[in-house]
């Protein structure tokens, strides 16, 4: 009987499969389709201090082996998440959930995390630093090691929960950002967020997405994600949650061999709402094929010397 369990920052997961933030809402739509307790955990919709309406439509475009989105962090705000979504979630999900947090200033990140720190249901804080810093010319926190470190420190100061910093791949040196987060006290790193892309509608001679650019996700980005997980594994010693185009049990194994302790599945949930249960179901056979008894044994297993 193959052992799928992994330990993510002190919490045991029955398997490493985690639906990624923004593709799983707060769990409700999927709980109508299957028992979501079969998941390792899931990362809930990116939550900000205040409610956000998000970007104008269209927010979505097709891409080869993937999709673009520019939802713009639409969410009801952290207070409503705490008073409405988490009590709802308690009825359908009985494991610690990963709370995904976004912000547009360091103070906002800290305050949102502080409020979530009191929620017993929250196992980890996953802090998305791909957002623009409104006090810093709109540059994304995740593109500058100093800014990434500043967010990390501010968040760590207000919570006792494990803090996972979620990195943007749109950078020259992903390892430098990861190191800065580790040095600032991050407990883990998750990556990659979407690659910035765009599509143009030749009929209208204008970008398809109202926001001009959108985030590319899906299998198209898997090789880039795998490379960055590999580089970060060589750069830091804290656990990594790998993601980016993962769609199969084999992809999960590649990600873990590159250095991931757990694996988030994103766009695949949208193309096939049963993607995660299918991957979990396929893992034992894939493990047998590659001679893996315990999944946790292969974390970083492709790094030699």
């Amino acid at each position: 009987m193959p052992d799928l369990s992994v330990n993510l920052l002190g919490i045991e997961l029955s398997n490493p499969i985690i639906p990624a933030s923004g593709t799983f809402g707060y769990g409700r739509e999927f709980a109508e389709l299957y028992d979501i307790d079969i998941l390792g955990t899931f990362s809930f919709k990116g939550t900000t201090l205040h409610p956000r309406l998000g970007n104008p439509l269209p927010r979505i475009a097709e891409a080869p082996s993937g999709m673009l989105n520019a939802v713009g962090l639409q969410n009801p705000g952290v207070d409503k998440v705490i008073t409405e979504e988490l009590p709802n979630l308690a009825k359908i999900f009985h494991k610690p959930v990963m709370a995904n947090v976004s912000g547009f200033s360091i103070e906002e990140y800290a305050e949102t995390c502080r409020r979530l720190d009191g929620c017993d249901q929250v196992g980890w804080l996953e802090v998305n630093i791909s957002c623009p810093n409104v006090h810093h010319g709109g540059m994304s926190f995740g593109t500058d090691p100093m800014q990434a470190a500043a967010v990390t420190k501010a968040v760590k100061a207000v919570t006792t929960k494990p803090v996972i910093m979620k990195l943007s791949p749109n950078v020259t040196d992903i390892a430098a950002i990861a190191r800065a987060c580790e040095e600032a006290g991050a407990d883990g790193i998750s990556l990659i967020n979407t690659l910035m892309g765009m599509r143009i509608d030749p009929r209208r001679r204008a970008p398809i997405i109202a926001n001009t650019t959108g985030g590319l996700s899906g299998p198209a980005i898997f090789p880039v994600a795998l490379r960055m997980v590999w580089q970060v594994y060589e750069a830091v010693s804290i656990p990594i949650v790998g993601m980016g185009g993962v769609s199969s049990a084999e992809d999960v194994i590649e990600m873990m061999l590159a250095g991931a302790t757990a694996v988030e599945v994103g766009a695949a949930n949208l193309a096939d709402p049963w993607a995660c249960p299918k991957i979990i179901e396929a893992l034992p056979a894939a493990m047998e094929k590659y001679g893996i008894d315990r999944l946790k044994d292969i974390i970083g297993g492709a790094h030699h010397g």
């Binding site: 998000g54 927010r59 949208l270 193309a271």
Partner: protein
């Protein structure tokens, strides 16, 4: 919502670029006219949402216009081939909310879901009428099928090559309760004239089942997901 593998029974053009596809397979997830199915097509990552024109226990009819790569591929599929679909998506029209004599107003590929709606209204003992708008005579389809239901049908064409010359609004009675499907400018114009009704919206979707927030739109009651809270919105909810 249910994942269903449908088998294509027929797939034929009704006009130059509008096709009717009849699928065989499980329709148990389809509960109201105005709902849609979301189809997986070879080589495309996102599913393609197509509204259901009509259905019975054994299968359903889709009517779609070739506008891009997805629908172009769909038009080339042949009887016997299979299609993976998420079926029974969206809310659909609320029959109970309709008065006895709703006016069904469809424009172009907005016409098909109103056919299923007309059938259900008749079955519920109501007396709908239909206004079907097209650009020109060659683009007209399904007017005969509506007429065969025994309801009053008015066809309009923008260029006057058939039926009444003008837009669907030129054929609308005053203060009508409408059930509408068509391009957004048409929805807006009809909304202005009507006194109540239900309006079906279109959007580029990510998932089609409410998970990704790819297709939310502002309404009087806050943001709603076209795919899950819609595609049909009530007259009073809409904020232009």
């Amino acid at each position: 919502m249910k994942q269903v593998t449908y088998t294509i029974h027929t797939n034929n053009p009704l006009t130059q670029d509008v096709y009717r596809m009849v699928l065989e397979g499980d329709t148990s997830a389809i509960t109201a006219p105005g709902q849609f199915v979301n189809l997986t097509l070879d080589g495309l990552y996102l599913r393609r949402p197509i509204s259901v024109c009509d259905w019975d226990a054994d299968g359903l009819t889709l009517i779609y216009k070739v506008v891009g790569q997805g629908t172009d591929q769909l038009s080339q599929m042949r009887p016997g081939e299979t299609l993976d679909a998420l079926a029974g998506l969206g809310n659909g029209y609320d029959l109970a909310a309709c008065p006895n004599d709703p006016v069904l107003v469809g424009g172009g590929v907005g016409v098909p879901p109103l056919y299923g709606l007309a059938k259900w209204l008749i079955r519920a003992g109501k007396s709908p009428s239909a206004i079907l708008g097209f650009n020109r005579a060659e683009e007209i389809f399904f007017d005969m099928e509506f007429a065969a239901l025994g309801i009053p049908v008015t066809v309009t064409t923008v260029d006057g090559t058939a039926g009444l010359r003008g837009f669907v609004t030129d054929a609308m009675p005053e203060d009508a309760y409408v059930c509408v499907c068509g391009p957004e400018p048409m929805l807006k114009a009809v909304h202005k004239l009507a006194s109540g009704g239900q309006f079906s919206f279109e959007a580029r979707m990510g998932c089609g089942f409410g998970a990704c927030m790819g297709c939310t739109m502002p309404t009087v009651d806050g943001y709603k997901r076209v795919c899950k809270d819609g595609p049909v919105l009530g007259y009073g909810e809409i904020k232009w």
